[in-house]
């Protein structure tokens, strides 16, 4: 005997829950993501504390508040500083660079100089207080 089943109506699948979930996923990833790429500038240990020190004399780089740079006491541009640093690194890969920023110089300026030295190939960069900023009470 043939049984006639009632024909089911094919209803369209509701897309609203799907869209809700997708928007929630989008919100989750948007809020949980960081678009800033962080990096790190490495400071070598100070001189005389057992850090990496090359055979040659360290290069002293003074940084003024205005951003002007001196290389072993002589004023240079940042490009000249990079060239000199690259020249020293050719002879000694472990050449130590000592950056002496003025007290009023900003961290961004210090990082800028460290960047320049790193781009010249310097691997050992340390910070020391500018001789004019040394507090005698430290001794």
């Amino acid at each position: 005997m043939r049984i006639d089943r009632p024909k089911r109506k094919l209803e369209a699948v509701g897309l609203t829950p799907l869209i809700d979930m997708i928007f929630l996923l989008l919100l989750f990833f948007l809020l949980g993501s960081d678009f800033v790429r962080f990096s790190q500038s490495q400071l070598a240990p100070p001189r005389g504390t057992g850090g990496t020190e090359g055979m040659s004399q360290p290069a002293i780089i003074s940084l003024a508040e205005t951003g002007q740079v001196q290389w072993n006491g002589a004023g240079v541009t940042r490009a000249q500083m990079r060239e000199r640093a690259a020249g020293l690194i050719e002879t000694d890969a472990e050449q130590l660079f000592v950056v002496m920023p003025a007290a009023a110089a900003e961290v961004q300026q210090v990082v800028g100089v460290m960047d320049d030295l790193a781009s010249a190939g310097a691997s050992a960069v340390t910070l020391e207080r500018d001789v004019f900023d040394i507090d005698l009470a430290d001794f």
Partner: protein, 140 residues
């Protein structure tokens, strides 16, 4: 006279293009974004052209634009307190690095004070957290 307008059929809006676009947005966020770090929002770190792999250090110290140091909370800490924390965590004994999350507007004097205090506490390596940007408007 009554005018019989032809009845318009209300067709449902096609949602597939919307879903496609939203999926593309999710893909973009997934690819371009990275999981959020615990970077403090109030500190704008210095911009650097050098891209190095960012490795979180066991101890992070914040240096605000006001030249004050902070650990986890909002209360400023003295360098002596930070040195005590360094000793407690054993960072110096294990030869580990300390991370300095310094605001780009902070002054080098505070940076040098921190350097000196950490050297006294036995910390050799300090990593300054920076933000990588291919072009930096700081050189001359």
């Amino acid at each position: 006279m009554k005018i019989n307008r032809p009845q318009r059929k209300f067709k449902s809006i096609d949602l597939l293009p919307l879903i496609n676009v939203v999926f593309l947005l999710i893909l973009f966020v997934l690819i371009a974004g990275r999981p959020t770090t615990d970077h403090p929002g109030e500190i704008e770190v210095a911009i650097s052209r050098q891209e190095t792999a960012y490795v979180a250090a066991p101890l992070s110290v914040r240096l605000g634009a006001d030249d004050k140091f902070y650990l986890t909370g909002d209360a400023p800490k003295s360098l002596a307190e930070i040195a005590t924390r360094v000793a407690e965590t054993g960072v110096a004994e294990q030869g580990l690095a300390v991370e300095l999350i310094a605001d780009r507007r902070a002054h080098a004097a505070a940076l040098m004070d921190f350097r000196q205090a950490m050297a006294k506490a036995g910390v050799g390596e300090i990593r300054i957290k920076t933000e990588f940007a291919a072009e930096q408007a700081n050189g001359n």
